[in-house]
Symmetry: C2
Subunit: 312 residues, 2 copies
């Protein structure tokens, strides 16, 4: 289990060209900047607008990353869809490419579903993929998916598939839930990632493995630094500085605000484009956001230089 992925991951923003077409060049470039800042790649997460991408688009983008030389051991693509065959297809593809793991949403259209139904869904996916290399990180994000992952469900899945069920991302925003998961399962080798760096220090102090956080797209180096130095005497102050940046982005529609910041610091307007049903932030909000970030001393060092060759 020691070779499992850990630390900080970013649900990588997906850039679009005109006509809402995914833009592999900007995507690869952003991934390289994140890796250069010690942040791994949870591509196709909620903040990636991944649920606005088709299966083929996800498969194509993932292949372009690997072909560009990105190490698949730094990749944890999101593969959980509403339909079982789609989840199986994306998951099999990720495993074949050698990805470290997959971040798997439960099927999220039907609400009020039972743990039995969710268990069958994950179990059937594991059986159909049928590959011992598969590592699943369960994705608990009730504010968006509305369908969550209960302690009972984790327990049952871990007992049935102890090697495959590797951990979870908790985006509930509810520390008491994260704590309960840590208390119940972290000693069984179940790796807990918090869904926001706001909980990073608390997670590390309680046996967690890291964070998979939206704002790792824009503030990667500082978040990764806290992961490395969580046991240091400066850790609480570092956490405070991370929280101040996060709070600025959280005042706006988060994904659009992060794309706006990338567009500003890269001096590349195309980066701000959103695919429907999401939209860009308004012009006035853009101005306020950038001003607030500058006032707070925020920067994205090196983002304009990582165009082609840096890191793997």
């Amino acid at each position: 289990m020691t070779d499992r992925i850990k630390g900080i991951l970013s649900p990588v923003l997906t850039p679009f060209k005109s006509g809402y077409v995914p833009d592999p060049e900007r995507f690869v470039s952003h991934c390289r900047w994140l890796l250069a800042n010690d942040v791994s790649l949870a591509v196709f997460g909620t903040n990636s607008e991944a649920n606005s991408l088709s299966e083929n688009e996800r498969i194509d983008l993932l292949e372009q990353l690997v072909e560009a030389g990105i190490d698949p051991r730094r990749l944890m693509p999101g593969t959980g869809c509403c339909s079982l065959p789609a989840t199986v297809r994306l998951t099999s593809h990720a495993v074949k490419l050698g990805c470290a793991g997959v971040l798997m949403l439960p099927p999220f259209y039907y609400k009020g579903v039972t743990d039995e139904g969710l268990y069958r869904s994950f179990a059937e996916t594991i059986e159909r993929v049928g590959d011992k290399r598969l590592r699943i990180y369960l994705y608990h994000i009730p504010p968006v998916a509305q369908v969550g992952i209960s302690l009972d469900l984790i327990d049952r899945l871990l007992k049935a598939y102890p090697e495959t069920i590797a951990g979870m991302k908790d985006s509930s925003g509810d520390w008491s839930n994260t704590k309960a998961v840590l208390d119940h399962f972290s000693r069984a080798g179940f790796d807990v990632f918090v869904g926001s760096e706001t909980f990073l220090l608390a997670n590390m102090r309680n046996g967690g493995r890291g964070a998979i956080s939206a704002t790792a797209n824009v503030n990667p180096a500082n978040i990764a630094a806290l992961h490395r130095e969580w046991a240091s005497s400066d850790a609480d102050a570092m956490q405070g500085r991370l929280d101040r940046v996060r709070k600025i982005f959280a005042k706006y529609p988060m994904i659009a605000a992060m794309k706006r910041a990338v567009a500003h610091w890269r001096e590349d307007e195309d980066w701000s484009r959103m695919r429907p049903p999401l939209v860009e932030i308004a012009a006035r909000e853009s101005t306020t956001l950038i001003e607030e970030l500058k006032t707070a001393g925020f920067d994205m060092p090196g983002i304009r230089s990582t165009i082609v060759s840096q890191c793997q």
Copy 2:
């Protein structure tokens, strides 16, 4: 506009073989029984477990229906997915097959999206499909999709695409919303279907066009009769009888309960199978359901005889 589809449609139940594989033979057979009872086919709705089907499975099942001789003018497949390319693909396919229209969910993963974002999503779909034959019925089902269709959005879409935006299905369960839609748009040729036969008589008396209702899968003849005879003196009594049957099914998980009833009256256990994340109803509930239905005088006349050739 007079040739547009109207009356009663059923979000057709999707039967699965062992291994959760869609079963085209039972599907075609059930569709024939519904058509023989004057009910058209809103295949791939919420009650069809359509969001648990892949794009390819939907395309394949729709082709099998048409190849089996089902008249595409009686078909209104659901085609709204989370991702724009998937929605465009399914919609284009339905139009090419000559379907009467499509029932289109808004993209439903991201919550709290703006009308601007939803407008872009529908507009881009219409532009990409690029076919004058396309007729879209907007699907408003906030209890499940969580993302709804506002009056402002309908107004904007109708103004931009008056021929294409043909109507809506209102599954809000909120008559005041249906009434507002009727009052604002029915005279502009916008066809309103209620999402439950509970509101059928009210809808017809206020200028609506019919119902697209789950229980039309199991009680088709009686629901279709009220649509034909809504102006008769017996209409309120007919509505009362429909409501009593609906109430029995509504006490249980609706899709599983309807499949159980079909399995019972067809004497075909395979019909009760659900694809994850949904599950069958428990054995004890099954017994109670069938007893309640029998006590109420419920029957599914002719369902065992429509195996191969009836109607188109």
